[in-house]
């Protein structure tokens, strides 16, 4: 028995993207301590952006190399892993533009001292004057780094650690809204409690699977499923528990209950970050879990998770119909989209993988653009998110109403937008995999979901602007950039999707070592 601790062998080049992000996050914490408040925002913003760009460069450099499984078997840097990492980083850059925006509101969307009791004089005072917290930048970097790790985790324990690493900063970020902070803090607490609850399921699932397979890495689990003599109950209950933990993050019904409240309560840039990046991470992890570890239980998964997907698509769409708040509407739309993405996961095929990845990127850009517009429609009390306030926006601000119309049409999946190509890819993959019933539910859900989107369009263009219809604020350069990037990507991926489709196909399949 060798009692010397065996240090794992680390491929630093392959791990460099997430190492850079973790490093930048740590430096960001130091910046909070040592850099004067006056220039802190600028320093933090440029540091984070530089870090993300550097990480992206490293991801792209790694893209031309072979698949690597490093840190023993804990992390798999393979084609899909790199693609998902790149997607998280790019969408993260755009989210960071929204997070860093300070011209829309004095001091930005975040409050300086969240601990000041909400709705007191001191709170109103700081809401009006003090510049916001710059801690959001290191928090965001930690979250993004955790997401990178989550997508590339090759065993269940690392996956769990990554899950917590990216969840904890998000809980904090949700609580930092400058306006309506009670709502924001309530949302954060709900998210934290329910998130912990779901994590517990995930952890319990890991324990059961360990009991079944005696190992926690995906390859070993796969081998165990073929020839383990243990009781299958352990396997299937464990698998169900793992799925519950991930479906919570992915916001599938009935584990979606936190989503509307959190989307509504969190500061809008953070909502955007969650809708775009968290979705990629959650589905990235789920894809790897299913495709590498549990593809031999494909049939059972298709029955159970297929039912979850159908319920998710239909409930998300139906609940969106009666929403009166734009952020809640987008939350339910995000829930329904989680259902569509489950179709890609359940196809368990190369085509399912590539179309899911395409969908994640396409949806991420569109949803970022949508929340960018939400940050712009505001009055003296902050964002005007109630839909009645959007009535007649087309008369007041035709440009932004047009952009938002385009984004909504993309959500609805009209041709010439990325929404169409993405949905088409997912549905085609599901048909190929013989999951016709899921596609039928998907199409019905899309039809229902078109109604709430078009209701907003009708409201913006065909209603007279009321007294309370706010004018759209002139966006700062960063929000404008985010809006343009999101909209252009939505258009380009709709008109000429082949570039990204080739990239998703080039990414190949998950490595299994």
């Amino acid at each position: 028995m060798n009692d010397k601790l065996q240090l794992p062998n680390l491929d630093y080049a392959a791990l460099s993207p997430m190492l850079i992000l973790f490093g930048v996050a740590c430096i960001g914490v130091l910046v909070e301590g040592f850099v004067p408040r006056r220039i802190r925002h600028g320093v933090q913003l440029s540091l984070s952006l530089l870090g993300l760009v550097a990480a992206l460069v490293m991801v792209i450099r790694q893209g031309s190399k072979d698949d690597v499984v490093t840190a023993q078997t804990a992390v798999a840097i393979d084609g899909p892993g790199l693609f998902l990492s790149a997607a998280i980083i790019v969408l993260g850059i755009v989210s960071l533009l929204l997070i860093g925006e300070r011209s829309l509101e004095t001091g930005g969307a975040f409050v300086a001292q969240a601990a000041v009791t909400a709705n007191t004089d001191a709170d109103r005072d700081q809401a009006a004057r003090t510049t916001g917290a710059t801690e959001v930048f290191p928090l965001t970097m930690f979250a993004l780094a955790g997401m990178l790790l989550f997508c590339t985790a090759n065993d269940l324990l690392v996956m769990f650690v990554a899950l917590e690493v990216f969840s904890l900063p998000l809980y904090l970020l949700c609580a930092l809204a400058r306006r309506r902070r009670l709502l924001s803090q309530e949302a954060a607490l709900k998210y934290f409690l329910l998130g912990s609850f779901a994590s517990a399921f995930f952890l319990f699932g890991i324990a059961l699977i360990y009991g079944y397979a005696g190992q926690v890495d995906f390859k070993a689990i796969d081998t165990a499923i073929q020839n383990s003599a243990n009781d299958d109950i352990l396997l299937y209950v464990g698998l169900a528990m793992l799925a519950i933990g991930l479906l919570f993050k992915a916001a599938a019904v009935p584990f979606h209950v936190w989503t509307p409240d959190v989307y509504q309560g969190a500061p809008t840039p953070v909502t955007a970050l969650m809708a775009a990046c968290t979705k990629v991470a959650a589905f990235g992890g789920l894809l790897r879990l299913v495709y590498v570890g549990f593809h031999r239980t494909e049939w059972e998964l298709q029955q159970v998770l297929g039912t979850v997907a159908v319920i998710t698509m239909l409930v998300g769409a139906i609940l969106a119909v009666t929403q009166t708040d734009i952020k809640r509407l987008l939350a339910y739309s995000s829930i329904a989209n989680a259902g569509y993405l489950l179709l890609g996961v359940l196809s368990v095929s190369e085509r399912g993988l590539s179309s899911s990845m395409f969908y994640l990127v396409a949806y991420g850009f569109t949803v970022l653009a949508a929340f960018a517009v939400v940050t712009l429609v505001r009055d003296a009390d902050g964002e005007a998110t109630h839909l009645s306030r959007w009535a007649g926006l087309g008369r007041r601000s035709p440009l932004y109403a047009s952009l938002f119309t385009f984004i909504l049409l993309a959500f609805a999946g009209l041709p010439l937008t990325s929404g169409f190509t993405a949905k088409f890819g997912i549905f085609a993959a599901a048909i190929d995999a013989g999951q016709t019933w899921l596609v039928i539910a998907g199409v019905v859900s899309s039809a229902i979901l078109a109604f709430p989107y078009l209701r907003v369009v009708v409201m913006m263009w065909l209603s007279e602007p009321g007294e309370t219809t706010p004018a759209v604020s002139i966006p700062g350069a960063m929000t404008a950039a985010a809006l343009v990037i999101g909209t252009v990507a939505t258009l380009v991926l709709g008109v000429a999707p082949s570039v990204l489709i080739e990239a998703t196909e080039h990414a190949g399949i998950f490595v299994s070592k």
């Binding site: 329910l194 399921f201 299937y236 169900a240 528990m241 209950v257």
Partner: protein, 636 residues
């Protein structure tokens, strides 16, 4: 038959895409620049068509100089390329299209020039020239395409331009209605044409002329017959032939230059072009040819009979156009050598009918836009140029010896008698009778307009001759009516040899040529003489009671009533029924579903309480269900 092949266009002929491109560019300039082009726009319009004409002449002579005159092709770009479904856009310049190019741009230039004067006082003159150029471009595309899809492009393009120009004075309800009528009736024909093209795709996998024509013999005769009849339906729609003739006379609501160029000289002959172009398809099925001949013969008689009962100068000319195109259909239906005869008549008709329409415009111009021939009379003294030019057109159309109609129409009548068996008597007789009737109604028109007592409305003192810009085109067209016939009758058949071949099996007509010619001249002089005798003293100013035939003719032989009873009324009931079903059935279903979804949404929403404890319960419940389901699926 040896396979049809075209050579690639190179050298000077490689630029013949300019022909449609120039008027198209001019139309774009006129329509896009808007008011800024008002002052000079009409001259640009004239110049673009004239340039195309000059270019067309050079291409014509270049083609004539080639050793192989079968035609040159120009590939433009791939239009559709999806799997086996492939359409390349390309142009073809062969003897047939060259002839049409010269007709369209030549007569087109003269009419454009005339329109500068005619539309002088119209505030929309620039727009008019924009549409007019658009028409010329589309028409040139129609005759220059090297496949049926290109032909269809031009076909729809001229349909659009025709619609825009018929309802040019769209504030006038009758003009707007006439535009719609033309458009809708053309749709019927176009649908037939489109289906014919689909059939080519389905059975031959191509729409290129050369490949279609070379592949026709591989098809079963039933397919060829259906294809040919669908093409005929399209042709009948565009050319105002039975049963789709009703729109053409109404189209006279447009400005007179439009009637002259589009609804007399060029667009309405597109149907003849279509059949002449598709000759291998029609040659391959004699039943189809007989149908074409029958349509032509029936229409030519209908046109004559209705034309004899009309009092509107443009309507009479319009029905005369219907009837003359009937002769052309008769010709192309006969096949063989008669293709060239029909095309000669088409060219000659282009000259004399355009001239007469412009003459009618000149008369209206001098008579305060009066169109009723009962209110004309004695105009020969006041409008000498119009009188002489119109008179030459009149003599040409009735087939007076020496003028173009004599050289172009007589041979068609003879050819009709060359058919075998009783059909020779039937169709030959119809053509012969048509000649007499034509002489009657055209003489009636001419005499009532220019001769006899003056029956003007009170507000007219001195009818005046039109300005030079209008009379010069009249004179040039009249020269064409006089000279063209003889020149064409010898040169055209030879020019068209590469298209239709030179050897034709000749049947002996059932009567000798001389007898037929004498008979037809007798008919002509009898018709004309009768008309002069009846109308030399003028006519009543109001409509008189008449026998059943005249009443029927005045009502367009009840064809409009027929359309109304058989198509319009059931169509109206059908739309009403559909609206009813839509309101009650479909909307009910949709609204019910929507209400269901909305209600469900409202109910589901209540589950979203905002309490963490109920959320956690929901997650727990979900977890239990998922685990249970997983176990049930696995072990159940």
């Amino acid at each position: 038959m040896e396979p049809i092949a075209y050579t690639a266009a190179n050298g000077w002929l490689g630029t013949f895409w300019l022909l449609p491109a120039i008027p198209l560019a001019s139309a774009a300039v006129l329509l896009l620049l808007g008011k800024r082009a008002d002052r000079w726009g009409h001259w640009l319009g004239v110049l673009s068509v004239a340039t195309s004409f000059v270019l067309g002449l050079t291409y014509f002579f270049t083609l004539r100089g080639l050793e192989n005159r079968s035609g040159v092709e120009l590939k433009l770009w791939d239009y559709i390329g999806v799997g086996d479904f492939k359409v390349d856009l390309g142009l073809l310049f062969d003897p047939l299209s060259a002839m049409f190019v010269l007709l369209i741009t030549g007569v087109g230039s003269l009419i454009h020039l005339y329109a500068v004067g005619y539309m002088d006082h119209d505030p929309g003159r620039r727009k008019f020239f924009g549409y007019f150029n658009l028409f010329v471009a589309a028409m040139l595309l129609l005759v220059l395409g090297n496949n049926y899809v290109m032909l269809y492009f031009g076909w729809e393009g001229v349909g659009l331009a025709s619609y825009l120009l018929i309802s040019f004075w769209y504030l006038k309800p009758s003009a707007a209605t006439a535009g719609k009528k033309a458009f809708l009736m053309n749709r019927v024909g176009d649908a037939g044409f489109a289906i014919a093209i689909f059939m080519m795709f389905a059975y031959l996998g191509t729409v290129d002329y050369a490949e279609v024509f070379n592949g026709v013999h591989k098809l079963s005769s039933g397919v060829v017959l259906v294809m040919a009849l669908l093409l005929l339906l399209g042709a009948a729609g565009k050319s105002g032939q039975f049963p789709l003739q009703a729109w053409l006379p109404d189209a006279m609501e447009g400005p007179t230059p439009v009637s002259a160029l589009i609804h007399a000289a060029t667009m309405v002959t597109a149907g003849v072009y279509l059949i002449a172009r598709s000759h291998p398809i029609f040659d391959a099925n004699s039943t189809a040819q007989t149908v074409v001949v029958a349509v032509g013969a029936l229409t030519l008689l209908m046109g004559c009979i209705i034309g004899a009962a009309k009092d509107d100068i443009k309507r009479v000319l319009a029905w005369s156009t219907v009837s003359q195109i009937g002769y052309m259909f008769l010709g192309v239906g006969l096949g063989g050598a008669a293709y060239a005869l029909a095309l000669i008549h088409l060219l000659a008709h282009g000259f004399f009918k355009a001239g007469m329409f412009l003459g009618a415009g000149s008369v209206m111009h001098g008579m305060h836009d009066q169109v009723d021939i009962r209110r004309f009379g004695g105009l020969w003294k006041y409008m000498k140029i119009t009188w002489v030019t119109f008179g030459l057109g009149w003599l040409a159309i009735i087939g007076f010896p020496g003028l173009s109609g004599f050289f172009s129409k007589e041979p068609i009548i003879v050819a009709a008698f060359e058919r075998e068996g009783w059909t020779a008597w039937l169709f030959g007789g119809a053509a012969l009778l048509g000649a007499g009737l034509t002489a009657f109604y055209m003489t009636r028109l001419f005499w009532l307009t220019f001769h006899g007592p003056e029956r003007w409305t009170d507000d007219i003192r001195h009818p005046h001759e039109s300005p030079k810009i209008m009379t010069i085109p009249l004179i040039l067209l009249a020269l064409g009516s006089v000279g063209a016939g003889y020149l064409l009758s010898t040169s055209v058949p030879e020019w068209l040899t590469p298209v239709y071949g030179s050897e034709h099996t000749e049947h002996e007509p059932v009567m000798s040529h001389t007898v037929i010619t004498i008979l037809s001249l007798v008919m002509t002089f009898a018709g004309a003489g009768l008309a002069i005798a009846l109308f030399n003293k003028g006519t009543a100013l109001a409509e008189q009671p008449a026998g059943p035939l005249v009443v029927a003719a005045r009502k367009n032989l009840y064809t409009d009533s027929f359309n109304e009873a058989v198509f319009e009324a059931p169509g109206r009931y059908l739309t009403r029924a559909l609206v009813y079903i839509d309101n009650r059935g479909i909307d009910g279903l949709v609204n019910g579903l929507a209400a269901g979804v909305g209600g469900g949404s409202g109910r589901l929403r209540r589950a979203q309480t905002g309490f963490v404890r109920s959320y956690a319960l929901s997650i727990l419940g979900g977890a239990v269900l998922v685990v249970a389901a997983m176990l049930a699926v696995t072990f159940g």
